[in-house]
Symmetry: C2
Subunit: 370 residues, 2 copies
């Protein structure tokens, strides 16, 4: 990989030269025309999401190597697809580059993008490069989903349990360690590396989408596609018997989104979209054990609620399904609270040691805020 | 519209405030979740294209008001869909904005975007806004197309006629008039306005896609979808008669792309992708009459070939279909040359007054070039 020692810039190689190099990261049959062509399976809906990441805002040389920037960009978009319950089909990449950006950086970015995407068999299907004084990466990801398996923000119901699919606060902790290497001296090397990894190489929870429906199958051919059986749920009905005609369990409606802007933001957004409230139990919010050892509980909770970029899913579903899901997922997944028919969102302490605290959007991550 | 007098900035209104304002430009049922949901009709392929436009590179305050920047951004992407033979489904918009960008500018951009998109019933289905020191607009457009109606770069055949769907050079001329208002004093006000309009408000040729197939219908239900009759083409076969079983005319294969980077670039790209050459006849390249009156023929030809951003289509198809298409389109559409089995692309002069000239990609528009 000689290029990594040569300060070859995009200006020197030119637009066509750069595009040719970048096309080696894309399937040959998908690129080279005015647009990419993909197939959406009949009966599935197309899901589209877009994100812009800017040098100095979303990543910086101090905390993010080119390949990490690529991984994070891909992960953020795949996480949005997971948040819709969708399976990825492909992404496009729009690059704005200063002329003195090195080819090595751009290829590193693409290596990181494809390293993340390859885990989910997702191709880069096209893109654009153009000159700018600021480096930025605009990604649009698309996926597809059966309409009745779509996860929406607006369908949370009072009484639903609120599930988080993993720990929160790790990404923010990793960022702090990168920005202030003098911190966290009490951490062992493995824990430190794991927190940094959580920031640099987050995992979009497409695996949750798969597992969510892995136990679901239609068990009667004469029944519509919305009427399915959710296996992990201990059914209140007589189990289906061969040849018998039973009323199927209604398909569970799952509301949810990802926690890219923080767990608190996700709960507030879900409640606002669904016209409901929530009560979160402080002690139930899963925090990485390394974090619990390193910082005070209040600090850990702050990072878990407001740190952002953990890219977990926050899902609202009936309690019994929620319990089955948490059991299936393991690894920090937990029921953290309940959807209520109030309008407020409260963080409560079961032990009544800490006062109840109200969560609002204003505390959340605000890109243009002061 | 009080906002247009108030220097309200995106920093002052905040990300959530800005998103709320921008959502008023989007259909309510399509936005507000982690991703937008669209339907691709069964049997149609999804077509995806992306473009990044940067302040100071693709538009500037001197030549482009916010609404014009919006219109041009939408038109460029819709043109890519037209170049694939696709019908638009929607676009996403990724905005990078300096904090001191006025809300008026952003709303102007969206007004221009929707003014162009509304002509084609195309919604903005989602987007992202983020802070940057440079203003840029990353657009991804989605469309769909029946696979056998797809227009590709790689299928031009020796013997095909090369059709352009309208005049070339107008956009570059308009840009020159905007940059140098002292030029073109010989132009009358209408011609001047028309050239500037061609630069500021280009028309994506989705109408050509419609007209291309308007004359085509499947005329025998037992026949596969690729076997259709092209009506404008004087058929060498006996015309179909009610009840009779005739061999249908094979569906015409159409190669093509748009001329966003110039007519010369389009022909070179088409030839390269198809492994063919071309001969273009200098006198047949349609140049706006106003341009012919204003500048020398060599200058007009230069702008027509290399100016770019006319957003016409360059199509390669059998001569008889090409003649029928040109007749249908009118308004400057013309056959400008022929695809050859050589590798070179020549600009020739039928009158042999000018020497033959070879076209290469290097003369074309190069974003990172010197």
């Amino acid at each position: 990989m000689n290029d990594y020692q040569t300060p070859l810039t995009v200006q020197a190689i030119g637009e066509q030269g750069l595009l040719k190099r970048l096309q080696s990261f894309c399937p040959a049959d998908l690129v080279g025309d005015d647009a990419a062509v993909l197939t959406v399976q009949p009966g599935r809906s197309l899901v589209v999401t877009t994100d812009v990441l800017v040098d100095g805002v979303h990543f910086s040389d101090q905390t993010t190597a080119a390949d990490d920037a690529g991984w994070r960009s891909a992960a953020a978009n795949l996480s949005d697809l997971a948040a819709m319950g969708a399976t990825p089909l492909g992404i496009t990449v729009g690059l704005s580059l200063p002329g003195d950006t090195t080819l090595a950086w751009v290829e590193g970015l693409y290596q990181g993008l494809t390293a993340c995407l390859n885990q989910y068999n997702t191709p880069i299907v096209g893109g654009d490069v153009c000159r700018s004084s600021v480096l930025s990466v605009a990604i649009t990801a698309f996926g597809d989903v059966e309409p009745h398996r779509m996860i929406r923000r607006s369908t949370a119901q009072p009484g639903d349990a609120i599930v988080v699919t993993g720990v929160h606060g790790a990404s923010k902790a990793g960022l702090e360690l990168l920005l202030h290497p003098e911190l966290g001296r009490s951490l062992n090397a493995d824990d430190r590396a794991a927190l940094i990894q959580a920031h640099q190489r987050p995992t979009p929870r497409l695996d949750v989408v798969e597992r969510l429906w892995a136990g679901v199958r239609s068990w009667e051919s004469g029944v519509g596609s919305r009427e399915l059986e959710f296996i992990p749920h201990p059914s209140p009905l007589t189990p289906p018997q061969s040849g018998s005609k039973l009323h199927p369990l209604p398909f569970p409606s799952i509301a949810g989104m990802d926690s890219s802007d923080g767990l608190a933001d996700a709960v507030v957004q879900l409640c606002r979209a669904s016209g409901v409230g929530a009560r979160l139990e402080r002690s139930q919010i899963p925090i990485p054990s390394a974090l619990a050892q390193w910082v005070q509980p209040e600090q850990a909770l702050e990072w878990a609620l407001y740190g952002g970029e953990d890219f977990e899913l926050v899902l609202c579903l009936p309690l019994m399904q929620a319990q089955a899901l948490v059991q299936q997922l393991g690894e920090g997944a937990a029921i953290v609270g309940t959807i209520t028919d109030e309008r407020e969102i409260w963080l409560v302490d079961r032990t009544q040691t800490m006062p109840d605290q109200q969560l609002t959007l204003e505390r959340g991550f605000q890109h243009f805020g002061a």
